[in-house]
Symmetry: C2
């Protein structure tokens, strides 16, 4: 076994409570500096070790603030073990010339599968039917109310990155008519582009939120967009704060929206209690990107990017900061 | 408006309780004979009118027995308003040279959507997560257990007709590896063919049942097949009796199967009570083929086939009886 001293040093940046197979899988290849291995406060740990650290693995959503970065003057690479990177001070990284990679490649297929699952569930009322059957209502009340067909529906995808493109690929096979909104038109994408999410909502039966949470996308789905969507369906596998949740709840309760499939919420793990009794809503607990298979893909991606960095090879899934 | 006497006569074969927009939509084009429009018992109604009837529209699952056919010596065509035709005496129709059309074309996309929805729901535990969130367990119990990824799974489709082929089209877009079993190999299908459902189960993580219920397919998923599938998942959008339900329940309760997504049951509307508390099972109430859009497609298909028959034009979705 190689001596740990010969291995490249990587800061293992995590919360105290976070445990993952990641560490076991990475430790044969890197000298992992984990502040929680010591009794020291993190700030004093970083004061001692921070100067030499060139690469950092960010586990889950552990925040990386400007203050954290002040301890790490030699930092060149942040490997984020998450799809979203809104917990990282992106502009400060940009200013310092720090490269960030995310894990959306590892998670994109899972997130897309979950988005499609939530959508079919809302339209065809699967979870509601499951409640109906489990409650013993079928023999008593007869036929369960009809759902709606997926094929032919106009689906607007908000955020056409790795997740959005996987959603499009799947829903095209169901016969949906797809359009998308993103910061820029993507020349290689065959679907209609909408620069404005309001216009996309007007022309859609369904909106699927797959974008990152940034200052620009915070509450991108506001009251005006919901009005434009009318009796449509919103599916959110991005971040809770993409949607003005208070208005979403009001629109759902008042029947102004057709339904919603939500994996993320503004104040997780708290879900607005008004939603808990609605039959046209399907709720999951921020699990869109979590399967054993995606964890395995995450480990492989983190390993590959860290190895590539220390060998001066090209990185995968680099985050563009604009 | 054309006098009813000039319109072709069609027997509107239905149960007393069955109501549908079908009749309103067909009546401008055909002279519909509906036994329930009179006070007569059906047998005496058929004794009077049966001799002249060349075409019959079978609404829902109204049985057509040999006895029914004895009243209808001139019958040439049965237009079934359902995907399955196991409520019709097929061999007797074959003997008498009666052509049967079914409605699987109208329902195939809905049934395939529902099958995929059930599958994602079982694998990614969406209905179970929805129960977890609605019960207020997320803040109390923390992370909900992981589901499994759909991509890369080996999916065996049992019955590769109109529904099975639509399921395959959808699951290919999710990155599943597809194989199929049917009476005969289909030369145009690009996926591996298994003559034997046991061998298909051995090589599958998931079985999706899309075949008709016949003498040959009754309990096609028996104990041996379930053993061959191991910890896999069964999705049934065909008919309840395709599966030995007693054994299915036992295998699910004992954890010998990974899970099940079931829209159909052996003794509907009754669902085995042991299933009602299982978290790896998703239950819907025989709704796979019912949406307003598929009803509209059904009406169009029935109209088209009846018009084609009376104009000596080719029929759509003729049932092959072997």
């Amino acid at each position: 076994m190689a001596s740990m001293e010969n291995l490249p040093v990587v800061l293992f940046h995590r919360r105290s409570s976070y445990t993952l197979a990641l560490k076991d899988r990475l430790s044969p290849h890197f000298h992992l500096l984990d502040p929680f291995d010591t009794q020291e406060p993190i700030s004093s740990f970083l004061s001692v070790h921070g100067y030499s650290i060139r690469a950092l693995l960010c586990v889950g959503y552990t925040p990386i603030t400007s203050e954290t970065l002040n301890f790490l003057p030699s930092l060149e690479l942040i490997v984020a073990g998450s799809a979203g990177v809104d917990h990282i001070a992106l502009q400060e990284c940009h200013r310092r010339g720090i490269t960030i990679t995310n894990a959306s490649l590892a998670f994109a297929e899972d997130a897309a599968d979950h988005a499609v699952g939530l959508l079919i569930d809302v339209l065809r009322r699967i979870s509601a039917a499951d409640r109906f059957v489990r409650a013993g209502s079928w023999p008593v009340m007869g036929d369960f109310p009809l759902g709606f067909k997926l094929g032919g529906k106009r689906v607007g995808i908000v955020g056409y990155g790795s997740v959005g493109s996987e959603v499009a690929k799947r829903l095209a096979a169901f016969g949906c008519n797809i359009a998308y909104n993103s910061r820029k038109r993507k020349p290689s994408v065959p679907f209609p582009y909408y620069e404005n999410v309001h216009n996309l909502a007007v022309d859609s039966d369904i909106l699927i939120l797959c974008c990152s949470l940034t200052k620009e996308t915070h509450h991108i789905i506001n009251e005006g967009v919901m009005k434009s969507l009318g009796k449509g369906v919103i599916v959110n596998v991005g971040r809770g704060s993409l949607v003005d949740e208070k208005t979403l709840v009001q629109f759902l309760v008042e029947g102004k929206l057709g339904g919603a499939g939500l994996d993320v919420f503004e104040n997780e793990p708290h879900v607005p209690k008004e939603m808990l009794c609605l039959d046209n809503v399907v709720l999951s607990a921020h699990r869109a990107v979590f399967t054993p298979e995606s964890f395995e893909a995450l480990i492989e991606l983190c390993l590959a990017n860290l190895k590539a960095f220390f060998s001066n090879e090209p990185l995968q899934s680099v985050v563009k900061i604009e």
